[in-house]
């Protein structure tokens, strides 16, 4: 090949390269990020809409919406639609940012918006109703006394309560007998007829008066009005011999004194919620998350404590004995969760409902999860005559996941094989799993069992006296595994 041929070939190659190149794309820019509410406005949860106006760029644009709360940034949406609704499950101050990407790799950023406040679903100045206590303790208990104690303490903390006569009249009028859950219909009627904004539902998990006494309560606040949504949920489990101390001086022998402590802890936790400082788990969006890797959830308001003291996985002993998470499952995605009562296999009465309530509580602490009020799930199961002898089938999951029914993305169910903690050593054995409603498959499954004195050798150090504490520790450990990158 002589030099002129080489020159010609080079020229042809250059020209060929230029043929494929079109005009350079216009620089991508974000004109504006519009949020429906002006800064500082008290917004009810689920009412914000956002839209991104972008210009320039090459081909179809991909919009990402990020939210920031307490310096933790989370990806809220990613897709080709550049507008949508945003549901803030937790109260607090949020800022938003949009990032737009085009086909050629250009990236434009809207910058952070001013902060928007999401008010608690039910505020301090609201009117509350305290429903009678649901007894799942499998023993006789002074339910009226417990309820009256709760009412007195709530009033002492400055909350306005609906008069008992009015509540009783409402319950008689609507034949309200099940006090363990609320439906949308009932929540609407309650607000229309009595003006109530929030309802306290209390479940007695265990009650033992003879030494050493034991008290476990699960309490939640559900909004009244258009939708019955869980605003706050917490639980407490105390035993008279939790901390016996030197010569048994720390032993509590009076169950009323233990009950007062339990109530105080619950209401302290409620105060934290009303002050918008409730601890919550939020998945941060980091560089590794952008590359498709999973990140662990971060605890916000870590200085605050819950009544059950179960924000951390305390013991290696309570890790799940078998665990599965589908490779395609992304724990940080925003989802609506329906917790179906667990199946009770050979455990004590009501164990299935109790463990399900613990699951509701733990899942509610994740900012990306909206847990459906158990009363709504129960109502759906009853109205569709769904009897689940071995847990939900895929057909049952389809019903719960249907947009027109519960629109649940995840259906959590399980089995309880052992639940002892009323007397002597505590022992718990359960398994739980989640079915992805849209993909119709199990996305995670875990099984935990153990006793309160497993691995305890010296002076009861590390002993978990109640089944309440044990199931909390085991569930938290399982959720930590689900978060694991």
């Amino acid at each position: 090949m002589n030099s002129s041929t080489k020159l010609l070939a080079t020229l042809l190659l250059l020209l060929g390269g230029c043929v494929a190149m079109g005009p350079a794309p216009e620089p991508l820019r974000v004109e504006s990020l519009r949020i429906s509410a002006p800064p500082g406005l008290r917004e009810k949860i689920g009412e914000m809409t956002w839209s991104v106006v972008a210009g320039g760029g090459d081909g179809e644009l991909v919009c990402e919406l990020y939210s920031r709360k307490a310096q933790v940034e989370s990806l809220e949406y990613s897709g080709t639609l550049c507008s949508g609704h945003w549901h803030g499950n937790k109260p607090g101050h949020y800022a938003f940012k949009a990032i737009v990407r085009d086909r050629s790799g250009q990236v434009a950023d809207s910058g952070w918006s001013p902060e928007y406040r999401v008010a608690p679903l039910v505020g301090r100045e609201a009117l509350y109703a305290v429903l009678p206590v649901e007894n799942l303790s499998d023993s006789q208990a002074p339910l009226t006394e417990i309820r009256q104690g709760l009412r007195d303490d709530l009033s002492a903390r400055g909350l306005k309560l609906l008069a008992d006569t009015e509540l009783q009249a409402f319950m008689n009028r609507h034949r309200l007998r099940h006090v363990g859950g609320m439906t949308h219909e009932l929540a609407q009627k309650l607000q229309d007829e009595t003006g109530v904004d929030g309802v306290f539902l209390t479940t007695l998990e265990s009650w033992r008066e003879v030494p050493s006494p034991r008290v476990s309560l699960i309490m939640r606040l559900v909004s009244a009005g258009e939708r019955a949504e869980i605003a706050w949920i917490d639980s407490v489990g105390l035993s008279g011999d939790d901390a016996p101390g030197l010569l048994g001086l720390g032993l509590v022998k009076d169950p009323r004194s233990l009950l007062a402590r339990a109530t105080n802890r619950l209401l302290d936790s409620l105060e934290i919620y009303l002050a918008e400082e409730e601890p919550e788990f939020r998945y941060p969006t980091t560089d590794s998350a952008a590359q498709g890797r999973l990140t662990k959830a971060k605890l916000l308001h870590a200085g605050r404590q819950t009544a059950d003291d179960a924000l951390a996985a305390k013991s290696r002993r309570h890790r799940p004995k078998s665990f599965y998470r589908a490779s395609a499952f992304i724990p940080s995605a925003r989802r609506t969760v329906a917790v179906v009562p667990f199946l009770n296999v050979n455990a004590r009465k009501h164990a299935g409902e109790l463990v399900a309530l613990h699951a509701v509580k733990h899942l509610h602490r994740y900012a990306n999860l909206r847990v459906i009020e158990p009363g709504m799930v129960r109502d759906t199961l009853l109205s569709y005559r769904m009897i689940m002898q071995s847990g939900p089938s895929l057909a049952a999951a389809d019903v719960l996941a249907s947009e027109s029914i519960l629109a649940a993305d995840l259906i959590v169910s399980g089995k309880v094989f052992d639940y002892q903690g009323e007397v002597g050593r505590s022992q718990v054995d359960f398994s739980w799993q989640a079915i992805d409603g849209s993909h119709r498959e199990v996305v995670w499954s875990s099984r935990s069992y153990g006793a309160g004195d497993d691995g305890v050798y010296f002076f009861d150090l590390g002993r978990v006296p109640s089944a309440h504490g044990l199931v909390d520790s085991m569930m938290r450990s399982a959720l930590v595994r689900i978060e694991d990158p």
């Binding site: 004995k321 078998s322 665990f323 599965y324 490779s327 296999v345 050979n346 689940m388 002898q389 071995s390 847990g391 939900p392 089938s393 895929l394 057909a395 049952a396 169910s413 089995k415 094989f417 054995d429 398994s431 799993q433 079915i435 498959e441 199990v442 499954s445 875990s446 099984r447 069992y449």
Partner: protein, 194 residues
């Protein structure tokens, strides 16, 4: 003098016997694997309720749940949720789900869309006693039936727990039932995947 010479030998023999007893080889139950079966093609299974031959009414369900969880945790095979299996059983109309016929297994394929079905027999689940010693014992056998023809392609069994020499000498109560169950299932999963 003669006694002095033979005594160390007697002691040594005793120790040797104890050592050998401790290392006693427990015969493994032979397992069956269909050599022509491509186990890689088995992507999803339905675990049917186990036949429970133990005195504990709920033992079959306990062991089945533990097995399903551990099989799913291997991430090698997808295990259908128990509620869906229950639905399949009732739709096909299997009278005794613990021991399905070949026709019933093939019908399950149509309803549940699974590649195989696993059945099991829980032969022992409880405490065994010998003199003053007691310990937990679990014995389980499993079968895998492929849903194309309904034939058995794999079968294995395992027994774990029972009274060991340590239990006899030290009088301990053996390992917890859940731990023994996990050992048995581990054995069976080893058999299945190796």
């Amino acid at each position: 003098m003669k006694w002095k010479n033979t005594f160390p030998g007697i002691v040594l023999t005793c120790f040797l016997l104890i050592f050998l007893a401790n290392c006693a080889w427990s015969p493994r139950h032979p397992d069956y694997t269909n050599e022509s079966m491509d186990f890689g093609a088995v992507r999803s299974v339905a675990v049917l309720p186990f036949l429970n031959l133990s005195p504990d009414d709920q033992a079959g369900e306990r062991v089945r749940d533990a097995f399903m969880g551990m099989l799913l945790a291997t991430e090698a095979i997808y295990v259908l949720p128990p509620g869906e299996v229950e639905r399949g059983i009732s739709r096909v109309g299997i009278r005794i789900p613990q021991t399905p016929t070949m026709e019933e297994v093939t019908k399950l394929k149509g309803v549940l869309e699974v590649d195989a079905v696993i059945t099991g027999v829980l032969r022992e689940y409880g405490v065994v006693r010998s003199g003053s010693a007691e310990a937990n014992l679990v014995s389980l056998s499993l079968q895998m039936l492929e849903t194309q023809t309904g034939s058995t392609v794999w079968a294995a069994s395992s027994t774990r727990g029972g009274i060991s020499l340590t239990d006899r000498l030290l009088g301990s109560g053996g390992r917890p039932m859940n731990d023994v169950t996990i050992q048995v299932i581990d054995d069976l999963l080893d058999e299945l995947f190796n």
